[in-house]
C-alpha cells in the first residue's frame, strides 16, 4: 500500500482547507500532482490512495487522472523532457529539437531509455511561444533550445543526483 510521508499528508490537509466544507473533491487535481511528485507516476494504487484521502470513489479520481495530460498513467524516466511542438514552436525549429533529442537518447517520443533515466514526450503549447523552442523538465521550462543546449542539459541530468526540480 502506497502512502504519503507525514509532511505531505499535512500539505493535503492544507489544500483541502482551501475549499468550503463539503467541497473537498476540488482538491483532487492538486493532490494528484502531489502523488505524482511522490510516486513518479499515477498507478491505480496511487489513485486509490488519493481517493481514500479525499473520501471519493476511486472512479472519481480515475476519470480526472485520465482527462488531464500532465498526469503520467505509466512509469516514466527520472528525467522527463516534454518538448512543445505546437505552431509557434514549430516555426522556431521544435521539429529539429525533438528529432535531435530522440537521436541522442536513442528513443522516439513517448519512449523511455532502457536505463530508466530519460523519457521523451511531445506536448502541446506550453505558453512560452516567445522563448521557443522549449521543453518542460520537472517544474521548470528550458527555453531558447539549441542542439548545444540540449547536449548540456543531458549532461546536467546525467551528473545530477536529484530530480533537477
Amino acid at each position: 500500500m502506497v502512502h504519503f510521508p507525514e509532511n505531505t499528508v499535512k500539505k493535503v490537509q492544507e489544500i483541502m482547507a482551501r475549499y468550503p466544507e463539503g467541497k473537498q473533491k476540488s482538491a483532487v487535481l492538486p493532490v494528484l500532482h502531489l502523488a505524482q511528485e511522490e510516486f513518479g507516476w499515477l498507478s491505480v494504487e496511487a489513485m486509490d490512495y488519493v481517493a481514500s484521502l479525499l473520501k471519493l470513489e476511486p472512479i472519481e479520481v480515475y476519470e480526472v487522472a485520465t482527462f488531464y495530460s500532465m498526469y503520467n498513467l505509466d512509469p516514466v524516466g527520472k528525467f522527463v523532457f516534454e518538448v512543445c511542438q505546437t505552431g509557434p514552436c514549430m516555426l522556431r525549429g521544435s521539429d529539429d529539437i525533438i528529432s535531435y533529442i530522440g537521436q541522442k537518447l536513442g528513443i522516439k517520443p513517448g519512449e523511455t531509455t532502457p536505463d530508466g533515466m530519460f523519457t521523451l514526450k511531445t506536448v502541446e503549447c506550453l505558453g512560452a511561444c516567445g522563448y521557443a523552442p522549449l521543453l518542460q523538465l520537472g517544474k521548470h521550462y528550458r527555453e531558447h533550445l539549441t542542439r548545444e543546449k540540449v547536449d548540456a542539459l543531458i549532461d546536467e541530468c546525467r551528473k545530477s543526483s536529484g530530480s533537477l526540480n
Binding site: R18, P20, K23, K25, S26, A27, V28, L29, P30, L32, H33, E60, E63, V64, F67, Y68, S69, M70, Y71, Q85, T86, G87, P88, M90, L91, R92, V123, E124, C125, L126, G127, A128, C129, G130, Y131, A132, Q136, G138, K139, H140
Partner: protein, 451 residues
C-alpha cells in the same frame, strides 16, 4: 513610446517582493477602493472605463460584473483565469512572473466589488514555478493586512487561493474551468445558466482573465475618465501583446491600442522586424484560434487603410479580409514558412485538446488533422481541400463551447487566403516535402513581391 499601465514597474529591481512593490505605490488602489468606494461604484467605474476582457473574447468587463446575481445568504466567487493555453499567448505568465502583486492587488479590489470572500486563481499546471511566486505574494499581502479578516477595518474578508490545473486547453473556457475547479473533467457546461447566476458550486461566479483583473488597478488609481483617454474608440486602456514566430524581438509588449500593425511589426521598440532579414508572409494576430492574415491584409485593410492594433481595426473586414484581437498572441510567419504545416500543427493541437463532449468537434478535429497531414506530407488530393473546408464548416457553431469554432477558424482562414499553397502541395507531392512554397501573391507590401 506607449504609456504603460501594467508593466511600467515590472522591471524595478525586487518588485516581486512586497516591500518594493508597496514603496513603488502598490496597493494604493485597494486603499482607495475599500476606504472611499462602495462595491457597486467600483463596478460602475470598470463599466465606464470600457475595459474589455483580455482573455480573447473581448466582452465588456463591467457589464459582465453587473450580471452577477446577488441572492442573500449565497456566497459569490471570483475566479481568475490564469489557464493561459492559447498558442501564441504568454502575456499572463509574464505579468504573474514579474509583477505578481499587481494581480493580487487587482484581485482584492475586484473581490471587494463583487463580494467574493474566497477567490481562486486557476493557473495552468505547467506554470508550476509561478504557483510558488503567487503564493509568496499572497502570503506577503496577508501579512500586511491586505487579505484576511476585516481588511482595512472595513469588515470585508477575503482569502485568495491558487489552484493548479493539469494540462487541458479546454479549461480556459470558463465553464470547463469551473468544472475543473470542482475536481472534475474539464467538460464545458451548457449555457444558460451562465456562471453569473450558477457557477462554482452552483453559486454566482465571475471568471476573468489575469490581465483583465490587473487592469482594474490602474482604472481605480487613475479613474475611468483618465483610463478611457488611453487607446482609441472601444479599445480603451493598454493591451499586452505576446509576439512570437520569426521576428527579431519576440516578447511581451504593453501597447496603447492606437499604434499601427506596421509599427508593431517593424519598429525596434516592438518586434523589430522579421528575423534573418526575411520578408513577412503571414500573421495570426490574436492567438491561434483567430484567422491568419497574409501580409498585405495584415498591414492594410481591404479598403487600403492602415490597420491598427486594436479590437475594431484588426476585425475590420470580418473574417473575409480581417481577423481578431483575440488574446493578443501575435504569431509571425516569414517568407520561408509553410502555412500548410503550421495549420496542421494547430489542427493537431485542437484534436488533442477537444474534450470529446460534442461529436462535431471530437470527430471533426480528427478529420481536419488527418486531411492536413496528408496534404502536408504529399499524399493529398485536390478534393481534400474542399473536404477540409466542408469539415470545418460543420464544426463551427455546432458545439457547446467555442473550442469548435476555435478549431475551425484557423483552417478556414488558411484555405481562404492560401488556397494556392494547398494546391501546390497537392500538385507537387515530392517537392513539398523538400521546400516551402514561398511568398506568392500575398507578399509583404513593403517589399517587391517574389513568387
Amino acid at each position: 513610446m506607449s504609456r504603460k499601465l501594467l508593466l511600467e514597474k515590472a522591471h524595478v529591481e525586487g518588485i516581486r517582493n512586497y516591500d518594493v512593490y508597496r514603496r513603488e505605490g502598490g496597493y494604493s488602489s485597494v486603499e482607495k477602493a475599500l476606504k472611499s468606494m462602495a462595491p457597486d461604484q467600483i463596478t460602475d467605474e470598470v463599466k465606464k472605463s470600457g475595459l474589455r476582457g483580455r482573455g480573447g473574447a473581448g466582452f465588456p468587463t463591467g457589464l459582465k460584473w453587473s450580471f452577477l446575481a446577488k441572492p442573500a445568504g449565497v456566497p459569490r466567487y471570483l475566479i481568475c483565469n490564469a489557464d493561459e493555453s492559447e498558442p501564441g499567448t504568454f502575456k499572463d505568465r509574464y505579468l504573474m512572473e514579474y509583477i505578481p502583486h499587481l494581480l493580487i492587488e487587482g484581485l482584492i479590489v475586484s473581490s471587494y466589488a463583487l463580494g467574493s470572500n474566497r477567490t481562486y486563481i486557476y493557473i495552468r499546471g505547467e506554470y508550476a514555478w509561478i504557483v510558488g511566486i503567487l503564493e509568496q505574494a499572497i502570503a506577503e499581502a496577508k501579512a500586511n493586512g491586505w487579505l484576511g479578516q476585516n481588511i482595512l477595518g472595513t469588515g470585508f474578508n477575503c482569502e485568495i487561493y491558487v489552484h493548479p490545473g493539469a494540462g487541458a486547453y479546454i479549461c480556459g473556457e470558463e465553464t470547463a474551468l469551473i468544472e475543473s475547479l470542482e475536481g472534475k473533467r474539464g467538460n464545458p457546461r451548457i449555457k444558460p445558466p451562465f456562471p453569473a447566476v450558477k457557477g462554482l458550486w452552483d453559486c454566482p461566479t465571475v471568471v476573468n482573465n489575469v490581465e483583465t483583473l490587473a487592469a482594474v488597478v490602474p482604472i481605480i488609481n487613475l479613474g475611468a475618465e483618465e483610463y478611457l483617454k488611453i487607446g482609441i474608440g472601444k479599445s480603451t486602456g493598454t493591451k499586452l501583446i505576446s509576439a512570437c514566430g520569426n521576428i527579431n524581438k519576440p516578447g511581451v509588449y504593453e501597447i496603447e491600442m492606437n499604434i499601427s500593425v506596421e509599427e508593431f511589426v517593424y519598429s525596434d521598440e516592438y518586434c523589430g522586424g522579421i528575423a534573418g532579414g526575411k520578408k513577412l508572409k503571414a500573421c495570426i494576430p490574436g492567438g491561434s484560434s483567430v484567422p491568419i492574415l497574409p501580409a498585405n491584409l495584415l498591414l492594410k485593410t481591404a479598403k487600403g487603410e492602415t490597420r491598427y492594433m486594436n479590437y475594431e481595426s484588426l476585425s475590420d473586414g470580418g473574417f473575409a479580409t480581417g481577423s481578431m484581437m483575440g488574446s493578443g498572441g501575435f504569431i509571425i510567419l516569414d517568407e520561408d514558412q509553410c502555412v500548410v504545416r503550421h495549420t496542421y500543427t494547430l489542427a493537431h493541437f485542437y484534436r488533442h485538446e477537444s474534450c470529446g463532449q460534442c461529436s462535431p468537434c471530437r470527430e471533426g478535429t480528427g478529420w481536419m488533422e488527418r486531411i492536413l497531414k496528408n496534404i502536408e506530407y504529399g499524399k493529398g488530393k485536390m478534393s481534400d481541400i474542399d473536404l477540409l473546408w466542408d469539415v470545418q464548416r460543420k464544426i463551427e457553431g455546432n458545439t457547446i463551447c467555442p473550442l469548435g469554432d476555435a478549431a475551425a477558424w484557423p483552417v478556414a482562414a488558411a484555405i481562404r487566403h492560401f488556397r494556392d499553397e494547398f494546391e501546390w502541395h497537392v500538385l507537387n507531392p515530392e517537392e513539398c516535402l523538400k521546400r516551402n512554397y514561398g511568398l506568392a501573391h500575398y507578399a509583404d507590401p513593403r517589399t517587391p513581391a517574389v513568387a
